[in-house]
Symmetry: none
Subunit: 211 residues, 4 copies
Amino acid sequence: MVGSKRAWGNTLQKPDEQFELKRGAILRAAAQLMRQRGYSRTSLGDIADLLNVSKPTIYYYFRNKDEVIRELLRVTVETILDPDEHPDDFPNVPGLNGAQRFERYLRRIVRLVADDMLCCLLTAPKEMLDPATVHEYEVCSPLVERMAEQIIRDGIEDGSIAPCDPIATHLFIVGALSFLPNWSHPEAYPAGAVADMFVEFAMQGMRPRQG
Amino acid sequence: MVGSKRAWGNTLQKPDEQFELKRGAILRAAAQLMRQRGYSRTSLGDIADLLNVSKPTIYYYFRNKDEVIRELLRVTVETILDPDEHPDDFPNVPGLNGAQRFERYLRRIVRLVADDMLCCLLTAPKEMLDPATVHEYEVCSPLVERMAEQIIRDGIEDGSIAPCDPIATHLFIVGALSFLPNWSHPEAYPAGAVADMFVEFAMQGMRPRQG
Amino acid sequence: MVGSKRAWGNTLQKPDEQFELKRGAILRAAAQLMRQRGYSRTSLGDIADLLNVSKPTIYYYFRNKDEVIRELLRVTVETILDPDEHPDDFPNVPGLNGAQRFERYLRRIVRLVADDMLCCLLTAPKEMLDPATVHEYEVCSPLVERMAEQIIRDGIEDGSIAPCDPIATHLFIVGALSFLPNWSHPEAYPAGAVADMFVEFAMQGMRPRQG
Amino acid sequence: MVGSKRAWGNTLQKPDEQFELKRGAILRAAAQLMRQRGYSRTSLGDIADLLNVSKPTIYYYFRNKDEVIRELLRVTVETILDPDEHPDDFPNVPGLNGAQRFERYLRRIVRLVADDMLCCLLTAPKEMLDPATVHEYEVCSPLVERMAEQIIRDGIEDGSIAPCDPIATHLFIVGALSFLPNWSHPEAYPAGAVADMFVEFAMQGMRPRQG
DNA sequence: AATGAATGAGCATTCATTCAT
DNA sequence: AATGAATGAATGCTCATTCAT
């Protein structure tokens, strides 16, 4: 019907690296929709429509719906762990105490929530994905968890974080974070402000007490 | 196929009150499955199978899938607000300061998460429910939110809770709470322990600091 | 829920003949609903609801849904053929010419359409009823058709009806009749007027021409 | 299961216009079945089976069951009103009196009954269609009714048709027409003959009388 | 590289029907 | 005489997935 919409939006650039770019565009579209509607309420047709592309095209770039999730997970974890991504808030750099490093870590994952990448993973339906995907989860998630827990442990040791159970603390914060997109008070709490408020709040809870 | 499984499990007891008991059994089964798989991945067939009952039987007790959620919501909110339910941790009783009351409130809703009742609601797909259900949400949820926020405000005033934004704080805690069932470390954190740890952790974050 | 509605309405009278009365009440309710919604859109639940009775009760009086149609057919045909039913317009009485007798016949079946009894049968889904019902159709319908056709033949012979194919003429009129409930111009054509207009119109078409 | 039946029968011809051809084939299959069994007893599965095609295929060509009826209505009305369709019996041409034009109109709609297109619409369950379809009905049907009524009025004026109520007359004839497929005497009245007989019969009823 | 066409599996929902009471 | 409870079978519809082009 409409001829004015350009397929793939403005994603394309150079003639050869297009494959990866398009793959990324699908991932972002999927992440956005899945955050809004959840995994199973997001059909491949929805994703295709958002990109002005036909359904089978998705299958040219991904084996199946499951692989979309799997890739989303891989990319997200890579983004968290890669020192070259947003180096300004990469946590593991010398000269910072535990609290400072944890705050960087928080900013890092809060940004992924804002980009829709993280929260669609946190709430994904593990029981219904195929074994390969579940395995990827079990391999990838701990990579991040270990990093976070180690930062907390270091912070407790250097006195910048109040003594606590590192694992539970991290789960607590990630949990609160995954609920963040549900904060349905956009008037009172604009997008950026919520992220700041969140980091501040979490850090406050971890600060050591006197006595 | 199998004749050994008893329909309705061990739910039935006395001959007359069976209707409500069965309705409750369906609600519990639905809550359990919806917590694990989410609303739209939980089919009425799944619920029926779990109870060793046929699909249309569900329709004898509920008008449709939506009504199951609606009832779940109603029962849950009632349970939170009713002083006669678990009076030992009903928060609004005289002689307690804000922090003590909020801890009671937390124990109350943590228990509902353990029963699967709460967390399936927190993550429900509001966009896909019919207007009646959405309306019920919009009427019921604030009842609980207001109660919690008032407790926090009282606590700040009487000095038992550190100054904070009551709304954001409550959302933060509810978010962490709704993620609680995803804590997949059953070895390290047995069910009961997680609840205690959660309450303790949340309360610690709210305690006022010196200086 | 409701206690004020009396089951069976005011149908019941004497203690023993109740069975037939109730059977008749079911038939009338069925006819009414089936005329409005058609055979397959009329569920036994609808009929039961209309009578403030439970669904299995219908099964006490009729073997199945098909038997309801079958009985409806039998009763309707009986009503048409029985001289004691509405004797004022029973067609086969001495001293009347063919046209007069056919007008009586028309009034008779138009009344059954008004009572919902006939038109739900005329449009019934013969292909989907079970063999017994189809057989009943094949036995009963001709009884009426033969009577009507004979009246037309007599009218042609005595000169009161224009020469025509009796079978086709009757089908033509019955067809127009069965469409009568669809006349959706209630403002212009109130219920009673439509019946009169219909009879008049049909008779006019049959009147002999000069030359 | 069976490999011998060709999907789509012999409908396909040229490679590009297939979409419309297939859409038309579905419409014809739907019309045929709905005439035999009525709207609600005709499932999309039945239509698909008749075409040796799977159920979801229907959804590739039509949004839902309602749209099938809607299209059927549109095509039928278009066929009646379009002067280029069967121009040999298009009624509104100069040089014909009212009776001649009405006879052409009758032949036109009788042909649509033979093609199953018309009668499945005449008996459609308006109460159960969605608003869009009902609206289409309310817009389209009058187009045909007005044309027919105007022809009758013209015929009365030019003396070729006996004075009558144009609206009621048209309803009467359309009603008889819609019953035509139920004429279950194929031996005595072969398809073509019935159509001729019907037109002749209707016209005779409308012919003016002397005196 | 992308798409039109087609399908199997699944889901919410309805309904005729049965059975124990 | 009547009903509450339960179910198998069907129905409209969606969706992930495939295949030929």
